[in-house]
Symmetry: D2
Subunit: 144 residues, 4 copies
């Protein structure tokens, strides 16, 4: 086991005016956009070039998404997205997220998870490419 | 028990170009927007005027959202959202949704559920107003 | 000149909660989405199948957009989008829009125009296909 | 004339997957969201606290928006938004934007302008508060 193995990444976004709704909070669907920013950063850090995955004829589509909203985010909040891998299967990978408002005393805004499924050009599920599978497994367990 | 009691509503949306992403499918977060259209129509049919609820100092915020994606929706698809109430609690109500592509042989696009929590102006959870609670309970069980 | 020639179409959208912002109005960028719904309906009525245009290797991209906002739209408003063709050039077509709140006494919400440019797969500007050009010209002048 | 006077700010955004459409480019309406990020940063740099403006009973609403699209932005592009003030009137201020893809050889993606109008709680146009007017005028001309 190596401490050098990537287990978690942190991303930050500033809440945009366009993301608020008339209740004065961030409209709830936008949290899924932030989760995507989190896992994109995570994969980039892992060295996974998504365009390269697509060249192997594989696309990763969201098959399941779950968000628990704790405290509403507001305009101009700085939001941190902590991302890690929760589960790896032969055809799917599940990312988990913790969303926090960045202040001196950080507030948990939400927790979330999304499962991504590997499909080919015809939309049929496929095995994740072996190298990708290996990288995801290491990132989940922290051991090589 | 009365058959005249509202149990389910159906809403329709046409997929917008702005809702697609570069994979050629609808970007997943937009399904939550469609769910909101479904439950807004459902509440309107129940006779619940949301503006009236707000005048009683109550706001309904999404506290939990879960979507299972089955088949990707595409540009210009006609999507039907079937909405019903899954669970009623003193401070929360859970709506369930089935999303279908409208064709001669309808395809299930996704199933989803969202829980809405009653809060007051200070963000504290509150009891649902008694009349709203009663209406939701009847709509769930179909009995008065 | 024939009265049977299509000159204008009207489309309707119901304002979604997700389209509002914390000012309590519709966020201004969404008007461009409504304009796209207007011109998609217009082209459909003209018999232009956009997928067919793409099969000829032509894509229509927005090269210019201008919106004048008059009265803010609000949640749950019914909005009508009146669309017509303002100008046809060999490589571009300009659509004009009038957006109204549908009530007994309709209120003008905005006027807008967008120019679409024909490009090929490499992003170079191209002539509009002759049949498309002809259809757009008839729709603009009302004469055949 | 002082070089110390703020004339222009630069903001950066990374293109999100959710901002692309099935043509493989950024959907055009999102450029207006980026412009808003540009002018928010500009006002913040000027020391204008928008919440403070609202406490004086004034809201700034977009009354006119114009975008000229030059080169399509793509997923994962780093986009720089250069913002300056183009015109100041007693009741309105016009911001101008240049949007560039950040590379060794920057590419101009679009130019844009938006006019913001001062309104009160009833939606009537109002004079800009004197201090705000003064700050905007200095930012436009560069002289105090």
């Amino acid at each position: 086991m190596s401490d050098a193995v990537l287990r978690k990444t942190s991303s930050e976004v500033r809440v945009r005016y366009s993301e608020t709704d008339q209740m004065g909070f961030v409209y709830h669907a936008h949290y899924l956009v932030w989760c995507e920013i989190g896992r994109t950063d995570f994969m980039r850090e892992l060295g996974v070039v998504y365009a390269e995955v697509e060249r192997q004829g594989i696309r990763l589509v969201v098959s399941d998404a779950h968000v628990r909203f704790r405290t509403p985010a507001r305009y101009d909040d700085l939001v941190r997205i902590d991302t890690h891998i929760e589960r790896v299967q032969s055809r799917a990978v599940t990312f988990a997220y913790e969303l926090l408002r960045v202040t001196d005393d950080p507030v948990r805004l939400a927790t979330a998870s999304t499962t991504l499924l590997a499909i080919d050009e015809h939309g049929s599920t496929r095995m994740l490419p072996p190298d990708l599978l290996a990288v995801f497994r290491v990132a989940r367990t922290g051991s090589q």
